[in-house]
Subunit: 456 residues, 2 copies
C-alpha cells in the first residue's frame, strides 16, 4: 500500500518498506559469506555487491543520482525521457541489441525514473554479468543522440503520458494534488512531465542532461546474486573503469518547501468515478532530512494508523463501524527531500465520504491526544519487520534497497543500523511526530468524486 501511495503523490516509485529488509533474523547480511561489499572505482563509480548464492542468478543495476526533481525549470519530463533514450543505441551497440541479448538468456531488463533517481537493471545468469557491464558502461557516455531518435522517442513518451495520465481521472487528480501539496519544491512537478513541456523537449536538452548527469561519478552500481565481490570488482574495472569521469556536480540542493499555514483541497468530478475517495497528505521529513528518530517514528505511525488490516483505521473504520471500504496510511520516508505522509479512504455501502473522513480524523486525533501503548507499538514493530522478511527474499528488492539508499543520499551504514533504530522508537516519539506533523489545519486533501449533480 505504501508503494502505491508513494507513486500516487510524488511520482516516486520508491520501495520504502523493503528498503531495509536484509537485516531480518532469517539471513543476516553480515554473516561472513554474505557480507555486503562497498567500494569505489578511481573514476568515482560507487559499487555495492550483495552476495546471494541461493540460485544462479544476478541482478545488475546502475543507479544515476538524478530524477525529475533535478530537471531544469520548464524541462519537465527530461529525466524520464532520457531513460527511454538510453535504449536507443551507441556506436558499438545499436538499439535493440541489449534487449535481444537479455531475452536470449531468458533474463529480463527494465528501467525506471523517480523524482530522485534513474535506474537501469538486468537480471541474468552470472556468466552474462560481464556482458551486461559492458553494455551499461558503453551507454553511460557513448549514446548516439540523433534528431531522428529524439523525435520518434518523444512521440513514445507523449503517448505514454496520454495512456497513463490523461486517460485516468485518478492520475490527473494525483498530478494536480501533488502540484498543490508542494508549494515550492519540484516534487510538485510530475515525473513523466507536463504534456506541453514534454512536447518541446529536444536534442539539445537531452545532450545537456546526458553530459551533466550520466557519468561514473554520479552513479551507483549494485550487483546482487550469485557472484563474489572480487569478481565484480575485476569486471567493473575492465568495463566501467574505462569510462571517463564526468564534470563535478554542484551540491544537490533543490528549492525547498516554505512552512504551510493553510489547508487546501483539490477536487475532480469525473464520470468514470463510481465510489468517491479522498487522500490527505502532509509534507514531512524523510530519513535523510529528519531529526534523529523522527523518520523511524513516522514509519511506525504509518503502520499503526493504516499500514495493514491490523492497523487502527482498518480495525475501527472498516471492521468495527463498517463506514469505510478502504482506509489506510502511507509514508514516503525514502525520498531525498521532505515528502508525503498520507491517509486515504473510501466509503462502504450507503455511507458518505464525509463520514469516512470524520471517522478517520477522530482516530488520528485520538492517537495525537492519547498516544499509543508499548504493546501496540511492539506489535506494529513486529508486523513491520515481518513485512520485510518477504521483501528481502527477492534478490531484486535487495539490489533495489541498496541502490535507492545510496543514490538518494543514504549510506550502507544507514541500512545496517536501521533495524536497531526502529527497535529504539518509543510510544512518545510516535505520538510526538503525529502531533508535530499531522496538523489538520495544514493538510492538503484530494477528492475523487462522481459527476457533480447540480450544486457542488
Amino acid at each position: 500500500m505504501t508503494i502505491k501511495l508513494a507513486l500516487a503523490f510524488c511520482g516516486a516509485a520508491l520501495l520504502i518498506p523493503s528498503a531495509f529488509a536484509q537485516q531480518t533474523p532469517a539471513q543476516p547480511a553480515t554473516s561472513p559469506q554474505n557480507a555486503v561489499a562497498h567500494f569505489s572505482l578511481d573514476n568515482g563509480l560507487e559499487v555495492v555487491v550483495i552476495p546471494d548464492h541461493r540460485a544462479p542468478v544476478v541482478t545488475h543495476m546502475v543507479w544515476y543520482k538524478v530524477g525529475s526533481a533535478d530537471e531544469p525549470a520548464g524541462k519537465s519530463g527530461i529525466a524520464h525521457f532520457f531513460e527511454h533514450l538510453m535504449f536507443k543505441g551507441t556506436e558499438r551497440h545499436p538499439a535493440g541489441e541489449l534487449d535481444a541479448a537479455v531475452t536470449e538468456l531468458g533474463g529480463n531488463l527494465n528501467a525506471f525514473t523517480t523524482a530522485d533517481v534513474t535506474a537501469y537493471f538486468e537480471t541474468v545468469p552470472p556468466e552474462a554479468l560481464a556482458d551486461m557491464m559492458d553494455f551499461e558502461a558503453d551507454r553511460m557516455r557513448g549514446l548516439v543522440l540523433s534528431e531522428e531518435v529524439i523525435g520518434s522517442e518523444r512521440d513514445v513518451v507523449l503517448e505514454e503520458r496520454r495512456q497513463r495520465v490523461e486517460s485516468s481521472a485518478q492520475s490527473l487528480l494525483s498530478e494536480e494534488f501533488t502540484a498543490t501539496l508542494y508549494q515550492n519544491h519540484p516534487y510538485g512537478i510530475p515525473t513523466i512531465g507536463w504534456m506541453h513541456e514534454m512536447e518541446q523537449l529536444n536534442r539539445a536538452d537531452a545532450a545537456r542532461f546526458y553530459d551533466q548527469y550520466y557519468a561514473p561519478n554520479n552513479a551507483v552500481l549494485v550487483v546482487a546474486g550469485d557472484v563474489e565481490p572480487e569478481t565484480v570488482r575485476t569486471l567493473a574495472e575492465q568495463t566501467y573503469g574505462k569510462v571517463e569521469r564526468g564534470p563535478d556536480l554542484p551540491p544537490r540542493v533543490r528549492p525547498s518547501e516554505p512552512e504551510r499555514n493553510t489547508s487546501a483541497s483539490v477536487t475532480l468530478h469525473d464520470p468514470r468515478v463510481g465510489i468517491p475517495s479522498f487522500l490527505r497528505a502532509w509534507v514531512v521529513p524523510t530519513y535523510r532530512t529528519a531529526e534523529p528518530g523522527e523518520a523511524e517514528a513516522l514509519d511506525l505511525l504509518s503502520e499503526i494508523l493504516g499500514g495493514s488490516s491490523r492497523s487502527r483505521f482498518y480495525q475501527e473504520v472498516v471492521v468495527k463501524s463498517g463506514i469505510a471500504a478502504q482506509a489506510g496510511a502511507g509514508y514516503d520516508g525514502g525520498a531525498y527531500d521532505p515528502s508525503g505522509f498520507s491517509i486515504y479512504g473510501a466509503p462502504q455501502g450507503q455511507h458518505t465520504l464525509a463520514e469516512v473522513e470524520a471517522a478517520m480524523d477522530t482516530q488520528l486525533t485520538r492517537l495525537i491526544t492519547e498516544g499509543i501503548s508499548d504493546q501496540e507499538l511492539d506489535r506494529a514493530k513486529a508486523r513491520y519487520r515481518r513485512g520485510l522478511i518477504f521483501a528481502r527474499d527477492a534478490q531484486q528488492n535487495m539490489a533495489q534497497m541498496y541502490g535507492n539508499a545510496l543514490a538518494s543520499g543514504g549510506s550502507v551504514e544507514d541500512i545496517e543500523q536501521w533495524p536497531e533504530r526502529i527497535r529504539a522508537v518509543t510510544p512518545e516519539q510516535v505520538q510526538a511526530v503525529a502531533s508535530k506533523y499531522l496538523d489538520p489545519s495544514k493538510a492538503v486533501t484530494s477528492y475523487l468524486l462522481p459527476p457533480a449533480t447540480g450544486a457542488q
Copy 2:
C-alpha cells in the same frame, strides 16, 4: 479594486486599468505638441518621452525587464532584494546621496518590484532631470556590492517580509493560494520571496543577477512631463548612452501552466479574522498572450461582473438581495504571462459565506448561459473609459502605463490601439470568454475564516 486584486494573487503591482489611459478624448496623445516619442540608444536602451506641460514637473522612470518570475529556482526574493540594493551606493554616489538630492528638491523617489518588472522613479523639477539621469545611469552598472551591504540589507527585506506577510493572515493565505493557483509557472512564488530562501541570498547571487539583468539593453527609460523629446534624447545620450551594453539575454520564456482539470481550495482559519471572505480565481490569458479580442473581452467581463458598484455582483448580491457586504471581480491583463481572473465576496449581517458564493455563482452562470445585452456592454465600456480619465490626469500614471507595457512585452502601438480594440468588443465575445475560462470545476478558491469551532 483590480489593483488590490492583482496584488493579492500574484504579487504583481500592475496598474492595469490605468495602463491605457492616454487615449481618452480629453487630451489625445497624438496632438502635435504632446506626441509620445519612442526611440532607442545605440546600447539598446529604449526611451519613451511623454510631454505634459501643465506643470513644471517631470517623472523619470527606469524599468528593468526582470521581475520575480525571472528568478533562478530556489532564489526567490532576489529581484526585490536587488531593488533594495540599488539604493546602496556606487563609487561616484555613496548610499543616501540620491535620496538627499531628491528630497532637497522637494521631489520624491521610489521603486517597486513585481513578478514581471523592476522600476525606479523620481519626480522632480525639469531642471533636475539631467542629475536624475546621471544617478540612474551610474547605478545601472556601477553598484558597489560589499558583503556588509548585502548582510544588512538582507535583514531589512527579511523584516519587511515579517511585517507585510508573516504578520498578516490575509497575506499568508494569499501566498499559499497563489502557490496553488499556479501549478507550474513561477507566478506561484511570492515576489518578496519565501522566508527560508531569502535568508540564504548572498553576494554571489546578487552579483550574478545584477550582471545579467541590469543593463541598458534590458531597460526602458520613461520620461513624462514638462520636457521635450529632443532634450531627453540629448541628456540620455550624455548619461545612459555611456553605459556599456550588457550580455544578450535569452528569450524570456518561463515554465508555463499545464491545463487544469481539478478545482482546488485553500483555507486559513485565523483568530484575527472576524468576517469570512473568499476569492476564486482562474488562470486566463493576458494582453500579450491572448487570442485577438479575448483580453479586451476579459477586461469588460471583469467590469460587468464586478468592477464597480454598477456591476452585476454589487447590484444583485449586495444591493438587491443584501446577502453580501462585498462582491467584486478583477482581471490582471497586463501581466507578461497568463495570470488571474478573480471574483471575491464577503457576507453581510447574518448571511453565510456559502450564501454569498452561491449567489455569485448564480450570477456568473446566468451571464455564461444568457449572455449580455448591447446596452449593458456599452454602459460597461463607458464606465471603463471614464475610470481611465482620472488615471491619465496623473503624470506618474502615464509614465507607469508606458513603462509597464514596454517592459512587459507590449508596444507603444498596443497602447495607442487599445481604445479602439475595447470599442470593438461584442456581447458574444464577453459571453464566450466567460464560458471558456471561468469553469467552476476548474477554479481555485481561497477562504479566509474565523477560528474553526470543533468540526471544520
